[in-house]
């Protein structure tokens, strides 16, 4: 597989060398959910050797003192955004952690959810505590192609385009419906749906690209350059030795403001326990169970045990919807 994160690794290496020479710059690695930053952390852990210690912030939520007692001059903490909750009194652990970080002479290498980072940067001015920040960038179609095809020989896979429908079957308008609860009954109200893909294909008569290029362009667009999402969609499309271009566009979201807020909490954490979500939503008179049920029904999240997580294939539309309402930015 083509090595990833080369640029980021060289930056982190420099931070560690500087620390060895007496210059400490705490580091924040900021990425979107599913980006796959744990691969980067694995390599950093290998670089720190005996001096380093790796902790997941989940373990610090109830016992931050454990961090002080932990050995190691270089502390790698994953998912630091888990140390806050969006409620009154929800910043206490995070504030204690930041206080400890300022007073300590150890080097902290931390990973953050990008949406939590942006929020906390405005609320707690996080940038002051981390003089070095690495924002993991979106990947282009070529990078995603290199990443996904690195394990295969050239020509090993066959990219199959889905049979395009016959011209007369290309409908610009199709019938859709949306659900509405009226007097306790779920009613499906029909509405016309414009097939933008069909319209686009009729309007643009460009030279035909090879199926492989078409597939990776589409994969990059649907995954929004997120390698974790791209990998998930790749697995869905791969039917060895064939790769089927049956990628679905992300669904459009019609949620009210309160449910969207709950969704923004899940997105900001990547995944969250129902109890934690309830802790945030209860003071707002919102039921976490009801919201989770609704989001699951809309195929935006999935429930594994009592942990709610965003569906990777829905990530793009979730982010677009929440950005539109400026619940994340």
């Amino acid at each position: 597989m083509t090595p990833r994160f080369e640029e980021e690794i060289s930056l982190i290496k420099k931070v560690i060398i500087d620390f060895g020479e007496g210059h400490r710059s705490n580091l924040a690695v900021i990425s979107d959910p599913f980006y796959g930053e744990s691969e980067l952390v694995d390599r950093v852990e290998g670089m720190t050797g005996e001096e380093g210690i790796r902790i997941n912030a989940r373990t610090l939520i109830r016992d931050l003192e454990a961090l002080e007692d932990a050995r190691g001059r270089i502390v790698i903490i994953e998912e630091v955004h888990r140390l806050y909750r969006r409620k009154i009194g929800g910043f206490d652990t995070m504030n204690s952690f930041l206080k400890m970080l300022v007073c300590s002479d150890r080097l902290f290498i931390t990973t953050w959810n990008s949406y939590s980072w942006k929020y906390l940067d405005e609320v707690l001015d996080l940038g002051r505590y981390f003089s070095r920040q690495i924002k993991l960038p979106k990947m282009g179609a070529d990078q995603i192609r290199d990443m996904l095809l690195s394990g295969y020989e050239e020509g090993e896979l066959t990219f199959v385009e889905e049979e395009p429908p016959k011209a007369e079957e290309l409908k610009v308008l199709s019938r859709g419906s949306y659900k509405k609860t009226l007097m306790g009954h779920c009613v499906q109200i029909p509405r016309p749906v414009v097939d933008t893909r069909s319209v686009r294909s009729r309007l643009t008569k460009t030279e035909k690209k090879p199926p492989e290029d078409v597939f990776f362009d589409r994969l990059t667009r649907i995954s929004d350059g997120n390698p974790g999402v791209a990998e998930y969609l790749w697995k869905e499309a791969l039917d060895y030795p064939q790769v089927r271009n049956a990628l679905k566009d992300p669904p459009s979201i019609g949620l009210d403001y309160d449910d969207s807020f709950a969704l923004s909490i899940v997105l900001s954490m990547g995944s969250v326990e129902v109890e934690e979500l309830s802790d945030v939503l209860e003071p707002l008179d919102l039921s976490a169970e009801r919201v989770v049920g609704l989001l699951e029904e809309m195929e935006l999240v999935f429930l594994e045990g009592d942990v709610v997580a965003i569906r990777s294939e829905a990530l793009k539309s979730v982010v677009e919807h929440l950005r539109r309402l400026r619940l994340v930015w």
């Binding site: 009154i88 707002l284 309402l325 619940l327």
Partner: protein, 305 residues
């Protein structure tokens, strides 16, 4: 004297074919009508003019409905789209008037001068206020002291601007009353615009606590209640500020923060107030003793504090 009049009458009578007084009046009216140019307006022209105005009215209604619908669809550009509504209305009515005067009535220069004279007299005598309101409407559209969708205070009335009409501006107050303020009055009044065309809007939330309560903790709680609200919008240019003011018998803790959508103003205020008070109660922070806020406010207004 009487003889002279009789003579004059007898001199006139042979020239009048019908004879008598009725002949005189017909003669006078025909000589007047020959002096004034005919306006050439018949019933079909009047009907055409009315039809054009009716079409203009229908067109403005359709445009208003369409733009309002579109503004709600493109949620993040709502106010920008709504800004086009008064402009479209003025443009449609302006075009309709131009069409009526130019094409339907087909007035010549002399007729236009005559019409202007009549219009001037009408404005001077009876339609002065109406014209001032129309001019006020044009000035509001061009100068933009506020736009449709803004939250404004005019003449002591606070609300969201729903419509800038030809004659008046309509606001909807927080208790859902429709307030109509004449455009002429708007221009002569002091006007406060809370968001000036932006969707974001600052909301000020005041909580009053007893002087003996922990004010520092109250400020911390209010800040947390504000930054955790689902309606808050925080950015470098839109920070959250918490302030404390000491009064003789109580303290005022004030939060200043922005909502992303000005329609969330009151939900935001209510959400922050509710959660902050729940936390105040849990931490033993008490409200002022009954009546002291009124005393404090009264003395502040009187310039004592």
């Amino acid at each position: 004297m009487a003889e002279n009049l009789t003579e004059a009458y007898s001199n006139l009578s042979p020239s009048t074919p019908s004879g008598g007084a009725s002949g005189v009046s017909a003669n006078v009216s025909s000589s007047i009508s020959s002096d004034i140019p005919s306006l050439g307006i018949d019933s079909s022209i009047v009907m055409n003019a009315l039809l054009v105005l009716a079409l203009a009215y229908a067109a403005t209604r359709i445009v208003v409905v369409l733009l309002t619908w579109l503004s709600e669809k493109v949620y993040e550009h709502r106010i920008t789209v709504k800004m086009a509504i008064p402009l479209a209305k003025f443009a449609i009515y302006g075009f309709a008037m131009y069409h009526v005067l130019g094409s339907v009535l087909q007035l010549s220069t002399a007729q236009l001068v005559a019409f202007s004279g009549l219009a001037g007299a009408a404005i001077g005598f009876g339609l002065k206020d109406l014209v001032a309101e129309l001019v006020g409407g044009i000035v509001i559209v061009l100068d933009k002291p506020y736009q449709v969708g803004d939250k404004v205070r005019i003449d002591g009335h606070y609300g969201e601007v729903r419509d800038i009409g030809l004659r008046a501006t309509r606001l909807v107050s927080p208790d859902d009353s429709l307030i109509t303020v004449s455009n002429q009055k708007v221009l002569s009044q002091i006007l406060a615009n809370a968001n000036a065309g932006s969707r974001e809007m600052m909301v000020v939330i005041d909580l009053f606590i007893d002087s003996a309560s922990d004010a520092a903790r109250a400020m911390e709680i209010l800040r947390e209640a504000t930054v955790t609200s689902r309606y808050v919008y925080i950015s470098e240019k839109r920070p959250v500020t918490v302030l404390l003011k000491d009064r003789p018998f109580y303290r005022r803790v004030r939060a200043k923060a922005y909502v992303y959508d000005l329609r969330d103003e009151f939900q935001f205020e209510s959400d922050v107030t509710k959660r902050a008070w729940e936390a105040f109660e849990a931490e033993g922070i008490e409200p002022p003793k009954a009546g002291v806020v009124d005393i404090g406010a009264g003395s502040a207004a009187g310039g004592i504090v």
